[in-house]
Symmetry: C2
Subunit: 154 residues, 2 copies
Amino acid sequence: MIILTKYLENFDWEGIELHPYKDNDGNPSFKDVTRQTIFKEDKVNGLEVRYFEIAASGHTSLEKHEHTHIVVPIRGSGSCFVGNTVTELRLHDCVYVPSWSWHQFRASESEPLGFLCLVNAERDRPTLPTAHEVKELQQDSEIARFIRPRLINP
Amino acid sequence: MIILTKYLENFDWEGIELHPYKDNDGNPSFKDVTRQTIFKEDKVNGLEVRYFEIAASGHTSLEKHEHTHIVVPIRGSGSCFVGNTVTELRLHDCVYVPSWSWHQFRASESEPLGFLCLVNAERDRPTLPTAHEVKELQQDSEIARFIRPRLINP
C-alpha cells in the first residue's frame, strides 16, 4: 500500500502521471488544464485528492454534478464562479462546491492556478449547461462576464 | 452556505478558530499542536479538511483508528511514522494513513510542520497504545527512536 506520494518539484509528484483535464472531443469546454490524481482510496466512500493546474488565461469546464468538491489553491492565483458567486482565489483559500452548483475555475492572466481538489472517489459525471441554461446564467452581468461556456452547446 | 473560506496570512483563515489539537487531560500524548477545521461538510459521508500545525520539536499523538487520513504538508517540514515506516515530510508530499495504522507526526527541530488533513466528517475516536503495544512497536530500532508515546500509559 502506498503511504507516501513524494512531491518532487514544479508541481510534479513521484510516480503520478500528468493527464489532460478531460478528453478533448474537438469541442472543448475547457482551456489549458492538467490533472494529476495524487491519491485515491480504494474502498466504499473512499477519499481522493487530485491536483489540477490551469495555465495562465485558461479555465476548467463550466459544469455541475451531484458530488461535491473542496478546493485549495497551492500555486498561483485565479478566480472561480460557484453557485451565484464570482470570487478571487489566492494561495490556501478553501472553496466548497456544493451539490449541483454550477462552477468554473479560471487562472489569472499572468500566472497559473494550481489547486488540490478533494472529492469522494466514487462520484457522478459532470453535466455541462445547455444553451438555455447558459442564457439563464448570463442574466447576471458579473456571471456573464466571468463564465466561458462551451461555444457550441448541443 | 459558506463557499469561500479565505486564507489571511500566517496560516490563519477568516472566521476559523484556532484550537488545541486535543483536550489536555494533564497526561498529554502530544506536544505543541494546534488545529483549525477549515471546512466540514454537513451530510452523510461528508468531507472535512483541517489544518494542523506542530511547532518545531512538537509531535501529534501516537494513535490509531478505523478512519483514514490524507495529509498534505503546506508549511515547514517534519517526519512521520505510519504503519511500519518512518519517513521525512516536505511541502506538498501526500501521506496516506490507512485504517488502524499506528501513526505519529513530528515537526523538525528547526521549523514547524503544518499540514492539511482530509478526513470523512463522521469518524471514530482514536485509540492510544497500551504500554504493551508501545513495547511491541519499539522492537524496531528506527521506530523506537522515532515514536513519542504518552509517558504514563494506563
